[in-house]
């Protein structure tokens, strides 16, 4: 049972199905590194009591969100999850406004009223992270329906985890999208655990992607730590959706390096398992693969790293210098005027 999902996650050199052009490679690395460092910094802030609330880290899963969003246009939509920092950054979210939101400040994406689990940027098509597991799936189907009715050329991606696989929302959303042939891509990021529950104890069947057969849509399992593989599969799915050929169900196999939340020591999994996955770290794999081809040299990687550090530092500075929203705004923004 434990081996059934390993088919596409061999260790070793990253297979490069189609090497994207250099600008795409640079932006992929930039995005993955931004996600990694944003969350590591948020963790430091939390542990030094400068930040509060719930933080669900995407660390280790960066290739999934970045691979998918690299295949999207700015005007395309995504719905995200409680583990949503990565999706938001991959879709172009501003680190300043994200960090300020994590700090609960008025300059944050939600003016301090949403926090980590509710970041949205409608101008970038980010229809919201979500604190309810599975809820983004019907919403994505609705965005795709609306786009189709409005005559838009957009596609919508629903990101969700293996924990959403058993929800009714999954079935209702995917079924409707398939029935209506909607331009939507369902991306199940299978990071092996919903809180402490292993995916094999929560989802029946060989795989989540395998359910595509039941809905009459393509379903594909992808090495979710291989940004190129994710990018290739997402590009294919996006092209299908944009061409009016309907939804696709992708399952990106990956692993969260951290616990479920910042509080979780993840004692329900073995050290060996974690170490195996750490060896498949998507950012390291990307760097090694690209250095080998020479498309990006070490000097450029270092420059990007320095840029990201500067961005993160500026984001923390911006956030901490920003005020909290004022108490008299508590009841503001509930209704449109």
């Amino acid at each position: 049972m434990a081996n059934r999902r390993k088919a596409n996650t061999r260790r070793g050199a990253t297979k490069v199905p189609v090497m994207p052009e250099r600008a795409t490679l640079v932006s992929m690395y930039h995005a993955m590194q931004r996600i990694r460092r944003f969350e590591q910094t948020a963790e430091e802030m939390f542990k030094s009591a400068r930040m509060r609330g719930a933080l669900h880290f995407y660390t280790g899963e960066e290739a999934s969100g970045v691979g998918v969003c690299s295949a999207l246009r700015k005007e395309d939509y995504i719905t995200s999850t409680h583990r949503g920092h990565g999706h938001c950054i991959a879709k172009g979210g501003k680190l300043n406004k994200m960090m300020a939101e994590l700090f609960g400040r008025v300059t944050g994406y939600c003016g301090g009223k949403g926090g980590s689990m509710h970041i949205a940027d409608l101008d970038l098509g980010i229809l919201g992270a979500n604190g309810i597991v599975g809820a983004g799936i019907p919403i994505a189907a609705g965005a795709a329906l609306g786009a189709k009715l409005r005559g838009e050329d957009t596609v919508t991606v629903a990101f969700f985890g293996d924990g959403a696989g058993p929800t009714g929302a999954f079935h209702e959303g995917v079924n409707f999208a398939a029935v209506r042939n909607l331009p939507v891509i369902f991306v199940c990021e299978n990071n092996q655990y919903g809180m402490a529950t292993n995916v094999r104890d929560s989802n029946a069947g060989e795989s989540i992607a395998g359910r595509g057969v039941a809905y009459g849509i393509p379903g594909e399992i992808i090495d979710g730590n291989d940004v190129f593989a994710v990018y290739e599969a997402a590009t294919k799915a996006v092209n299908r959706a944009r061409a009016g050929e309907g939804p696709t169900l992708l399952e990106t196999l990956t692993y969260r390096h951290k616990g479920h939340t910042v509080h979780d020591m993840a004692k329900y999994r073995t050290k060996k398992e974690l170490e195996e996955w750490l060896e498949k770290d998507p950012i390291h794999r990307f760097r090694n693969a690209v250095l080998e081809t020479g498309e990006i040299d070490q000097k450029t990687f270092d420059e990007i790293d320095r840029d990201v550090e500067a961005e993160i530092e500026a984001a923390v500075e911006f956030a901490e210098a920003s005020p909290y929203p004022s108490i008299d705004t508590i009841e503001q923004g509930v209704y449109a005027d």
Partner: protein, 333 residues
């Protein structure tokens, strides 16, 4: 086009709703309707009859039996630029969609910093009196009034049904629009021309000096009949039809109580924990000095709605119980 609000004709409540949908689909390209059996079937209560034929399947979307999807699709479509009107065949079925209604639709605007627009109308048939037993007859409006981010509307006659539905669709908020199923067959005067009934405004449906009866939906009609009967006894009640439960027109209630000095709330929902408790508290807070007697509340008994007709009838307020309630109120019982 000339607007004619003086010429009226008598039409049914469900036809009034049908006209509102038809006119709003025509008025705004962003409007579409979705729900179970609303297209080919024409809606369980024929509210959407003929719309699919007229507007086609880009404006009238038949969905599978997937209530969470219906509500979620409305969320996704609205936040990305559409103006959906989503129908739940029965209010009872909204339980299946409560996450999308309560955690998504109602909260997105606020959680996202006040920027997101979710112009959604959730329509649903509610109420007892049809012999449909416990899972098709509830009056659950209090569930929705308790959630910040939702507006709650329930019209009591064809005129309000059309005008309030048009206002709800045009509103940039999430509006829960509840239609009492015993009213679908009610005939009433509706103008030929365009009109809108603003949300948040109650209407005095009957003037009187002895007692105020606050109600909504079908119970307004019962209160009006009770008012006629009581008039023969020399008792004149004032009937305040709230029409919108949130935002609540507190002034209309307190204004009437200031005039009559006695108040009774009547609703078809279970009395315990019902929205009548809120009305009572509002009167207590804002019109206490005008009261000559304790406020009275009528509501359904504390049971699921029973099937057998004598039991169903006895479990909810009716014309006679309203009359008796008013007499008790005047006696100070």
């Amino acid at each position: 086009m000339a607007i004619d609000t003086t010429t009226t004709r008598e039409i049914l409540y469900n036809k009034a709703l049908n006209e509102a949908l038809d006119e709003e689909i025509a008025r705004d390209d962003a409007v579409f309707v979705l729900g179970e059996e609303i297209g080919v079937w024409g809606g369980a209560y024929k509210v959407t009859e003929g719309l699919l034929e007229k507007w086609g399947d880009t404006r009238v979307i038949d969905t599978p039996i997937s209530e969470a999807l219906i509500a979620g699709a409305a969320v996704g479509a609205s936040i990305s630029g559409s103006r959906p009107v989503a129908e739940f065949m029965y209010q009872d079925f909204m339980g299946i969609a409560m996450d999308q209604i309560v955690n998504q639709a109602a909260k997105n605007r606020y959680m996202f910093g006040g920027k997101a627009e979710l112009p959604i109308t959730f329509r649903a048939a509610y109420g007892a009196g049809t012999g449909n037993a416990a899972q098709h007859t509830q009056s659950l409006e209090a569930w929705f009034t308790h959630v910040p981010g939702l507006k709650v509307v329930t019209p009591s006659d064809p005129y309000d049904a059309k005008g309030l539905l048009k206002a709800s669709i045009r509103d940039n908020n999430v509006v829960c629009f509840f239609e009492h199923k015993s009213l679908y067959g009610m005939r009433g005067e509706v103008p030929e021309g365009e009109y809108v009934v603003p949300l948040g405004e109650a209407a005095i449906k009957r003037e009187g000096e002895h007692a105020t009866v606050v109600s909504w939906g079908r119970q307004v009609q019962n209160a009006l009949k009770a008012g006629e009967n009581l008039s023969a006894e020399g008792i004149e009640i004032e009937v305040v039809d709230l029409r919108t439960l949130y935002p609540l027109d507190v002034d209309a209630i307190t204004g009437s109580v200031a005039k009559t000095n006695r108040a009774m709330v009547v609703h078809e929902a279970v009395r315990f924990g019902g929205f009548g408790g809120e009305i009572t508290a509002q009167i207590q807070e804002y019109a206490f000095d005008y009261l000559d007697a304790p406020i009275k509340r009528l509501g359904a008994l504390h049971s699921p709605v029973p099937f057998a007709e004598p039991l169903e009838t006895a479990s909810i307020p009716g014309v006679e119980s309203i009359e008796e309630g008013v007499r008790e109120l005047l006696r100070g019982v």
